[in-house]
């Protein structure tokens, strides 16, 4: 009789202990393995850091929240999870992947561009602590932040602080480097379309010809107008030359901008500067106007004035 009561009492104690253990375990654990407790996801919770290890005070938590919010606003959803467990880095990686999937750490459903950091503090040995990242296929690159740079930051800046038990420093390095790259590094230029590629190729080729066209056109127009081979044209020749080369340069510049051709744009700009400087030099050293009489258009003001003078005085003008 006593033996039956003892067995019943033992069974009650076992059931009680088991129920207590079950109550203390976190829910939503799909992987029922030791050290794999996943925090409960609460969509209404604004905090981007979960400190189950209770190692950070309010000031540190506020600081992390500020930096994580900044990264979120710059286009990278990110969660930090700090736990105390006797688990290795691979275990931490699985936990990080699980959190990223279950908590929908991404900008929109299906984007797969979030980042989760899990820091596991080993209760006995600092060397046993780990810091792992979980990111999706579209997380990197963002601006100039590549996967390689992120890994480099992890290995060279975050893990050394973790080994020294500087947990605040370890996480701060990570999140602030991410903020820096997202805010202060440029995005890559958009890819060229097929048309733009063709225009780029053409303008890069034309960039080599444009200066020659400018110089040769000056010599040819001067020779044609003034009947002399010189680089110092008359005003007529200069105006004709400008009427020719300035539109050519403007069109070259426009096409270079469309095709994103650096050589084309810079050559156009250089030629425009050279034309401007040439005009200034010409204004200082221009030849005497008698060498080539300025053509007077029939309907120009000068012509009409000359006609008026001729009518009044009876003297022929010019």
């Amino acid at each position: 009789m006593i033996r039956i009561h003892m067995v019943r009492a033992s069974l009650c104690v076992i059931v009680l202990i088991a129920s207590l253990s079950a109550a203390s375990m976190s829910a939503t654990a799909q992987f029922a393995r030791p050290g794999m407790s996943i925090p409960v996801y609460d969509p209404a919770n604004p905090w981007r850091i979960v400190d189950d290890a209770r190692i950070f005070d309010g000031v540190a938590m506020d600081r992390f929240q500020y930096d994580l919010r900044r990264a979120q606003n710059l286009g990278m959803p990110i969660i930090m999870y700090v736990r105390r467990a006797n688990a290795d880095a691979e275990n931490g990686k699985v936990v990080a992947d699980t959190i990223r999937q279950q908590w929908n750490v991404e900008t929109e459903p299906g984007a797969d561009d979030g980042l989760v950091m899990v820091m596991t503090i080993h209760p006995e040995s600092a060397r046993g602590s780990s810091l792992v990242l979980s990111y999706g296929v579209n997380t990197f690159p963002k601006r100039q932040l590549t996967e390689a740079i992120m890994q480099q930051t992890l290995e060279q800046e975050m893990l050394p602080d973790l080994r020294k038990r500087d947990y605040f420093g370890a996480l701060t390095w990570g999140i602030r480097r991410i903020d820096y790259y997202l805010d202060y590094t440029p995005p890559d230029p958009p890819l060229l379309t097929t048309t733009e590629q063709k225009v780029q190729g053409a303008m890069t080729f034309w960039a080599g010809l444009l200066p020659m066209v400018v110089i040769i056109s000056l010599v040819v127009i001067t020779a044609w107008t003034d009947r002399v081979l010189t680089l110092l044209p008359s005003s007529t020749a200069l105006i004709r030359w400008l009427n020719l080369v300035v539109p050519i340069i403007a069109i070259s510049a426009l096409a270079s901008v469309i095709g994103r051709s650096g050589p084309g744009a810079l050559t156009s700009l250089g030629c425009l500067l050279a034309v401007g400087i040439s005009c200034v030099i010409w204004s200082r050293f221009r030849p005497a106007s008698a060498a080539s009489p300025t053509p007077v258009h029939v309907r120009s003001r000068g012509h009409r004035q000359a006609m008026a003078v001729e009518r009044r005085t009876g003297l022929r003008h010019g």
Binding site: R143, D183, Y184, P186, D188, P189, S261, L266, F285
Partner: protein, 532 residues
């Protein structure tokens, strides 16, 4: 004619004599040459001011207080290298390209290259994590702090540009008044505490002042010569000023408005337009300033090339938001009303940054005095401003003084209108305007009160020094038939600018109304002919 001044040295007399003696300007017209036309005395004064300014600025470079903004300019040194890749990632639309126009970064980058420095000396200083530059602060530890060598190189560049500002200021002041006004005005600028402050830090404020001074010189020359070269230079310098700090680009708008007014005034108000042809020509040149300025601004800023107008608008919008954020962060420097802005400017320039503070400190140290005189700068500048206003009223806005006054007033107005935070760097262009006004005061009083009492021998000596420039040295007595042999050759270069009095009748001999004695007003603008 004023009898107190010997006839030989009285420019008004010189003009009168020229008018009587010469039948036309062709007799003494100088052939167009490419030789320098700046008198030797101007060169000597400019070199002296440059050397003084450079040595003073460099002496502060090692010891001046560090400001995190210096790291931002040093960080962008690589812009000068990436200009040759105008469609690369550097010029995409993001915070760094929108934050500041690139010309200051080019200046720092060129300085780094010349001195053998690094074009990537540090990362961006992140102001989210404070201004602390101590060893435990975030930014220095993260690589945002440049090495002392790179910081010194940036400061040396700023010191050099600051010395150039003083030289440009001299030519500007001397062009508007006389050499004495120019030299003393330049010296006042050289020793101005705010000028020392920004010249000892690796910032772009000196470049802004330099482009501003060059634009004023170009405006002065434009009003005198009415050449398209001067008009282009004015627009280019305003555009480059905009590529330094945005504000000077806006100065092209009031100039265009003035140009439109001058252009249509002969038709609307024919009785008030005595020089319609000149005014129309000047009006045309001024109306083109926004186009020239904007083209120059875009040419040096590859970020704008894909879409110049929209991206320029984004720049101004970004700057407006940044200044509002700046004001909201620190309430101590917040400026809410324009009246408060004027008060802050008066306090900064009248009490905190006084040009004679060094002299005052020295006197207190030598003699044990406790001088604490404030506001003399502003008083003298206001007197000079009064003279400038009188000149503008007399000669009109199309005169050299008028154009300079318009540009200076527009810049000052833009600063007052846009001031949201009371930061010392925003007042840098105002010290140029202040020194300009002071130099006018000095020049007028020198010419009116001192020159009439100078010994003749001293004035002959100065004239001889002024005569030692290549064009005048080539002028032999026989080349100018109207001059008697053995006399000191007269100036036959560009005539002093005077508003022609043929129609309006201004002048004592024509019975017109004159606000100041004739010699002072006539003489203080061109003691000796200027080559501009």
């Amino acid at each position: 004619m004023d009898r107190h001044v010997p006839a030989l040295h009285h420019p008004h007399h010189r003009l009168t004599r020229n008018r009587r003696r010469l039948l036309g300007r062709g007799a003494t017209a100088q052939p167009r040459t490419w030789r320098t036309r700046i008198p030797l005395l101007d060169v000597l004064i400019a070199v002296t001011l440059f050397a003084g300014a450079l040595s003073l600025n460099l002496s502060h470079a090692d010891t001046w207080v560090f400001h995190p903004d210096e790291t931002r300019w040093l960080n962008r040194s690589y812009f000068v290298e990436d200009y040759w890749d105008p469609f690369g990632s550097t010029w995409q639309d993001y915070y760094i390209t929108r934050g500041q126009p690139p010309l200051g970064s080019y200046m720092i980058g060129i300085g780094q290259l010349i001195q053998g420095g690094d074009l990537h000396p540090n990362l961006v200083w992140d102001f989210y994590y404070g201004f602390d530059s101590g060893p435990d602060a975030w930014n220095p530890g993260a690589g945002a702090m440049p090495s002392p060598e790179n910081l010194d190189k940036g400061r040396n560049t700023s010191a050099f540009v600051g010395a150039l500002v003083v030289v440009a200021a001299y030519f500007l002041f001397a062009g508007l008044t006389n050499r004495v006004g120019g030299a003393l005005g330049g010296a006042i600028l050289l020793f101005h505490p705010l000028q020392e402050y920004v010249s000892a830090q690796s910032l772009s404020d000196n470049l802004l002042n330099l482009t501003f001074a060059l634009a004023l010189i170009a405006g002065l020359r434009l009003a005198r010569t009415l050449s398209w070269t001067s008009a282009a230079m004015l627009g280019i310098f305003l555009g480059l000023g905009g590529a330094t700090k945005l504000t000077p680009l806006l100065l092209t708008l009031p100039l265009a408005a003035l140009g439109a007014f001058l252009f249509i005034r002969p038709r609307l108000l024919p009785r008030l337009s005595t020089h319609s042809r000149r005014d129309r020509m000047l009006g045309r040149m001024l109306m083109l300033q926004p186009v020239i300025g904007f083209c120059s601004f875009v040419a040096v800023y590859p970020y704008l090339w894909p879409n110049p107008i929209v991206r320029t608008y984004n720049l101004f919008n970004f700057r407006r938001v940044e200044m509002a954020n700046q004001a909201s962060i620190n309430e101590n420097v917040q400026v809410e009303t324009r009246l408060e802005a004027l008060g802050r400017i008066g306090r900064r320039l009248g009490t905190e940054f006084q040009s004679y503070s060094h002299l005052q400190d020295r006197l207190n140290g030598w003699f044990g005095w406790t001088l604490d005189i404030r506001g003399i700068d502003l008083i003298v500048a206001l007197v000079g401003l009064g003279f400038i206003i009188l000149l503008v009223m007399r000669n009109g806005f199309s005169s050299p003084a008028g154009l300079v006054a318009i540009i200076a007033a527009a810049e000052a107005g833009a600063i007052v209108a846009g001031l949201r935070s009371d930061l010392y760097r925003y007042y840098v262009p105002l010290i140029l305007v202040e020194c300009l006004s002071i130099s006018v005061t000095i020049g007028v009083f020198w010419q009116a009160l001192v020159v009439p009492h100078l010994p003749i021998a001293w004035r002959r000596f100065v004239n001889r020094l002024s005569a030692l420039d290549p064009e005048r040295a080539s002028l032999r007595p026989t080349d100018a038939p109207h001059q008697a042999p053995g006399r000191i050759p007269q100036a036959t270069g560009p005539r002093p600018w005077r508003r022609p009095t043929a129609v309006r009748g201004v002048g004592r001999e024509r019975g017109g109304y004159r606000l100041v004695p004739e010699p002072a007003v006539e003489m203080h603008f061109r003691e000796h002919p200027r080559p501009y």
